[in-house]
Symmetry: C2
Amino acid sequence: VKRAGFPAPLTALIDQLKRLPGIGPRGAERIAVWIARSADARPAALAEALSAVAERVRPCPRCGFFAEPDACAICGDPARAGGPICVVEQATDALAVERSGAFAGSYHVLGGRISPLDGVGPEDLGVPRLLERVREERPPEVILALGSDVEGDATAIYLAQMLAGAGAKVTRLAQGMPAGGGLEHAGELTLQRALGGRREV
Amino acid sequence: VKRAGFPAPLTALIDQLKRLPGIGPRGAERIAVWIARSADARPAALAEALSAVAERVRPCPRCGFFAEPDACAICGDPARAGGPICVVEQATDALAVERSGAFAGSYHVLGGRISPLDGVGPEDLGVPRLLERVREERPPEVILALGSDVEGDATAIYLAQMLAGAGAKVTRLAQGMPAGGGLEHAGELTLQRALGGRREV
């Protein structure tokens, strides 16, 4: 007797789901069975949403943020024109800055950071495009909103050197204690930097 | 300045992904961004796999296992005809029995088990259909392969009563020590049942 398994369409769906980040073989099976069996599942709606993203969402050619082919919500906003440029690693980092509500300029998404171990060098980050933008748009300030780890530091130092001759003020996010964080949870490096950057009150 | 967020197609995809079992809001964002950005993502292939499952996978009208509209791998196998019927709660339980390689009959998927707390009574499990099958097919044995917890016990006792007059031998899976399990990890109830079912060696 041949052992029975999932029918071919379910096996194909499980294989596709396993490829998604954060979904393992068991999770993929669970989702596929739910899609095949649950009255609440709407596989057609999910399939349409996937197709819409594949067809309509592109990196903005100017800033690299998520954009529909005909419009980037940030580059298309006249209230942001002429403001500072905030340089981030990923489009999702720009979303985090947006949620803070503390920035009203435009973004430049590098798509990564200098990381020799991962084989990412300066030439992979589209830095010439950033330099071109700074020379053309003459922003009052370029804010390097990069991670505060070794690769973020290396990327910031490299970008600051490259931007030195472009005429814009170059700044970096403050480093120190996170909001709501107690001293007992702060790492040594965080406390070093918080002490080094202390301000009179 | 209006804060920017995900473009509409990405928000729609995140909403659909959040509905899947085991995927939370952060996981849904992570998957949607990967689909929009990664060169490895194949959203069209995933959309097609979803549509194929929606269109082609149905519960088998005889046994309730996953089946393509024109064939159930188990009911269509002549080597299984006339064998015992294994009653399981879910189609995935039938897959687990198949993986064991220790059963060569057909299945009957109840679609649940008696659970008053979840509002599932005997009438929700399609028991009349099971009784009809047993009367028509006259299997040599009906094996109740249900969970060994309170609801599994209640469902097994109820089914045994209903099947009493149908002329088939009704059995239940053995309960005892799981393979590879040490005594220190076995629960009290497992040890009670393992002692109660002990066999001479």
